[in-house]
Symmetry: C2
Subunit: 242 residues, 2 copies
Amino acid sequence: MSNPTAAILIIGDEILTGRTREGNAWVLAGMLAEAGIELRQIRVIGDDHGTIVDAVAELAARHDHLFTSGGIGPTHDDITADAVAEAFGRTISVREDARALLAAYYAGRGQELTEARLRMARIPAGATLIDNPVSVAPGFTVQNCHVMAGVPAVFKAMAEAIVPTLKGGAPLRSRSLQMMRPESQIAEPLRALALAHPGVGFGSYPFETEGRYGTNLVVRSTDAGALDAAFAALKAAFPEGK
Amino acid sequence: MSNPTAAILIIGDEILTGRTREGNAWVLAGMLAEAGIELRQIRVIGDDHGTIVDAVAELAARHDHLFTSGGIGPTHDDITADAVAEAFGRTISVREDARALLAAYYAGRGQELTEARLRMARIPAGATLIDNPVSVAPGFTVQNCHVMAGVPAVFKAMAEAIVPTLKGGAPLRSRSLQMMRPESQIAEPLRALALAHPGVGFGSYPFETEGRYGTNLVVRSTDAGALDAAFAALKAAFPEGK
C-alpha cells in the first residue's frame, strides 16, 4: 500500500525575480510527511495565466493532490482562481457564502466591500471553501486541487485546515546521525547499508563548521520497523555518530 | 529583444520531505535578474534517476539555460551526473582533469583518493568543468545545462563562477514603495497604473505588522526609462508610500 502523492505549485513573480525567499513549500512539506502524503514535486511559476492553467492541469492529473500558494488576493496580479477554474473547465463567479464572509468582516471594521475586495469571493463552480482564520478571504478546493494564499501566516493556517481532512497513509518518519567525518569517508559503508535496507531511504548531507567537515546521515521510511532496523545498523556502522 | 530564459532544478529528497528549507534557488534568482536572464521556473524533485532524466530533458529543451543543484557528491544518493548524461545522450566516465583536481586536493590533506571520492570526477562526455573554490570537486556544463552542488556555499561559489560567463540581456530592475494600507484599498488605482504601463510588472505584496495591514508595491522592468516613469506614476498615486 503506497501513500497518496502530492505536488505543490507556488505562484508569484516575487519568487522568480529573487525578491522573496519562498518558505511555504517547506512548511507544507513537513505537514505532508507527517500526514503520510508523499510529496513528489514543488514547482514555482510566475503570474502568467497560460502558465498557471497548464501547470495546474498537468500537476493535478499526475498526483493525488495539488496544493497551490499565491495569487488569490484583491489586486490585478491575483489571477490564480480564474486560471484554476479554466484548468478544470469550470465557470467562476462571486459566490454568496464567500461574499457573506467578506461582507461581515469588512462591516466589522467599518469598511466597504469594494469591487477589489469582492474579487476574493470569486470561486470556481462546485468548489468547497477552505477556512481562513487569519484574514477571512477563503481558499478553495476544486477536485484534487487545494488553492491557498501566499501570505505565509494565511498559507499555514489554510494548510492546517485542509491537510488533516485528507486521507493520508503511514507517516514518513526519519532519524538522523551526525558525525564529524566528511561524506567521502563514509560513502562506501553507507552504500552497503542502503543496499541492505531496501525499504528505507538513506540520505547523506555534508556540512562544514569552523573549517571542519561533517555529515548528517538520515534514514527515512513509512515502515516503523524497517526504520528502527536501519537506524540500529547505521549506529553500529558509525558508533561515533550522535 | 527579449532576455534569455532559464529554469532551476533542485534535486534532493531532503527538500521534499521537509527536512531542509531550500535556499539555493533564491540566491541564483537574484543573480539571474541582475544578469538579465529571465527565470521562468523553479522545480524541486527527489533523488530518482528517471525523474531527474525527464526533468532535465524537458527543462533544458524549453529554456535557454537550465541550472541544477544537488546530487553530485560522493555518496550512493548522488545520481545527478549520470542522469544528466543520460538526458543528453552522453556517456559518462572519470575524467582526467577532474581526477587530477581531486587527487591534488586529497594529497594535500594527506588523504586517499578513494573510489567514493573518485565518483566526483565522473563527468559526461564533452562537458566543461565549473570551478569549485570551496571544496574542489567540480560542477560541469553540458550543452545549456549547468550542474552544481547542493551545499549552499559551494552552490553559490559555482553560480558566481558560471553566471558572469553567460550572455545575458538587460538587467531586471525593481523599485518598491511601502505603505500602511491594506492591499484591497489600493487595488483599483494599482490596476489602472498597471494597464497604463504595459512594459512594467506591477506586484502587490501584503504584510501584517503589530496587527496593522500594509502593502509593498513593486515595479519591475528591464527597460530603465519605463521603470522610472512607472515608479514616478506610482509615487504620484500613493504619496504616502515610502
